[in-house]
Symmetry: C2
Amino acid sequence: MGSPVSIRDVATRAKVSVGTVSNVLNRPEVVAPATRERVLGAITELGFVRNDAARQLRSGTPRAIGLVVLDVGNPFFTDVARGVEDTASEAGHAVILCNSDESARREARHVELLAEQRVHGVLITPVDTDLAAVRRLRDRGISVVLLDHPTDEPDLCSVAVDDRQGGELAVTHLLAEGYQRIVMVNGPARIHQARQRHRGAVDAVRKAGRSRAVLEELVVPALNVASGQRAAERLLARSTRPDAVFCANDLLALGVLQVLVRAGVRVPEEMAVVGYDDIDFAAAAAVPLTSVRQPRQQIGRTAAELVIAETMSPAEHEHRHVLFAPELVVRESSRRPVRPRRGR
Amino acid sequence: MGSPVSIRDVATRAKVSVGTVSNVLNRPEVVAPATRERVLGAITELGFVRNDAARQLRSGTPRAIGLVVLDVGNPFFTDVARGVEDTASEAGHAVILCNSDESARREARHVELLAEQRVHGVLITPVDTDLAAVRRLRDRGISVVLLDHPTDEPDLCSVAVDDRQGGELAVTHLLAEGYQRIVMVNGPARIHQARQRHRGAVDAVRKAGRSRAVLEELVVPALNVASGQRAAERLLARSTRPDAVFCANDLLALGVLQVLVRAGVRVPEEMAVVGYDDIDFAAAAAVPLTSVRQPRQQIGRTAAELVIAETMSPAEHEHRHVLFAPELVVRESSRRPVRPRRGR
DNA sequence: CAGAGGTGTTAAAACGTTTCAGGAGGTGCC
DNA sequence: GGCACCTCCTGAAACGTTTTAACACCTCTG
């Protein structure tokens, strides 16, 4: 049957007052062992489960934090989510995971919902750079940590990875391996990460100061496998092909790689490929993929720690902007063979 | 500043009673347009946000449903989650997504949390077959739908895909293409899906009735890329290799495929590979992967519909066991070339 | 034996909503 | 003018907890 069993039922059963039951639940040490046992007995006998709504209403301290990501299908975010969940559940918080799917409307709806739930705090990768939704949350007194979206806003925490440095790492590596004609397959400029990674790539070329190296940007509408495939097809159709491709994320790179492999283009001899994110599949691709790794779980953990710290002591909390350093993982797809070209 | 603005503040501001504000919020049609506007004005001016805890406490009707999956990193589950979220948010429900990570302890903790939240219902892929956690939820009057875990339990709904049929589809296809020595790379027997898919594979061989075809099972500890790689290495080390590999999921298959491609084994000429789940990466692999597709989003949608229907009218609800049919997607990795072997 | 200082328990007041019985005021009908 | 019937609004009770002040009882101290 249903279970409308409340703390009051437990109290009568154990022949104590409701206050005592509440104490057993929340501060067991203040109640005498004998009564404590009696109450616990009643609880299990009746199958009592605390009603969190009432608890929250009275105590004012919620037990959930919200996490709003751009795309649950993206392994990057699922890893971040895992990190968040780890530290959150250690602190006794539930995580409400929301998927904005890069839609401002969905984001707004989710944010509204989280506000109504009176969550402890919200970790969010905002859809737009204007941060309208984020501002509204803050105005309602909910602490917010920006995820993977660096900012200078003084009244917000943020946790991100230095995308510009990541782009620079990738292209510097390609130049060092001797590649000259590099195409960056990039997402649309409205995506913050895409812009930064491209800037880093430009930095690399500039710093190398070699006049022969050229970097071109090829913009695709979405950061997924299909877009990568189409981009590769376009590159193959050219009369002079690039000798290296740097992709704004691994999904693009896998799409590119597949088309190249199937077209018989040797990777990396004829064309190198570098991705970004180092998702699990990167290492398992037909040609293991060089990629820029981000400390994904750690991003999640750090963000969760920040939001919990802020809500614990809002007064003396100092907003921090954590910027992790990316790391280049070199694999076969971009390693110039030691010997000069084989065959001829 | 914080926002301890309650319905009462709105009421005084709009010079009405709290009851009227509540009516504006929940049944706007019963209040006169003029007052309605006045109240709405006050709401936006004060930045009022409903406190869901209080609402739930009083009304007794929660607005969230729980979803407990084995692995958020697995694309199968993220697609299911997407389906769940779609129909749930249409019905005005939030989705609390929990990751049990195949750990009974984590599952128990999440289930406890969901029970305390008094969620509308729970969709769960149970870690164990004994369904202890599920029973406890039901005892507390929370409706449960089993996800991807077929059952005959008469007091539960379930939504799943016919894994046995899927296994049979895959192996029947391999046999039809002329493959003879088939190895199934499978997960441990405690995983329900692994058992069923293997049974289906056995069915296929039996039905084909061809005495020359052999099916062997190679059990690996986990259903991931690394396990697939190790399995393929073991197969390659043998003196007589199989001519086809059927993997219990796509992650395994991708691992196998990678090792084969790198070792120079031609796929499918020398060895065919078939996966299971048809994740996005399957089509984008070096050799596009034949796989068994499951209607993932539809599983999620159907499950959400069932749990919502059940909680709407628990009395006349009839528990259903929905079993979707899998579909074989044939790609290059298992298509026997029309001509006999090339070369020689 | 009075008072001080524990310890363990209780009763009642909150928390912010929804809901419901009922009241005020207006309109139409006989 | 009395009555019935609307429409719109109000006031208060209830939901299940946590929290706090107060109380009862015991033990120790002087």
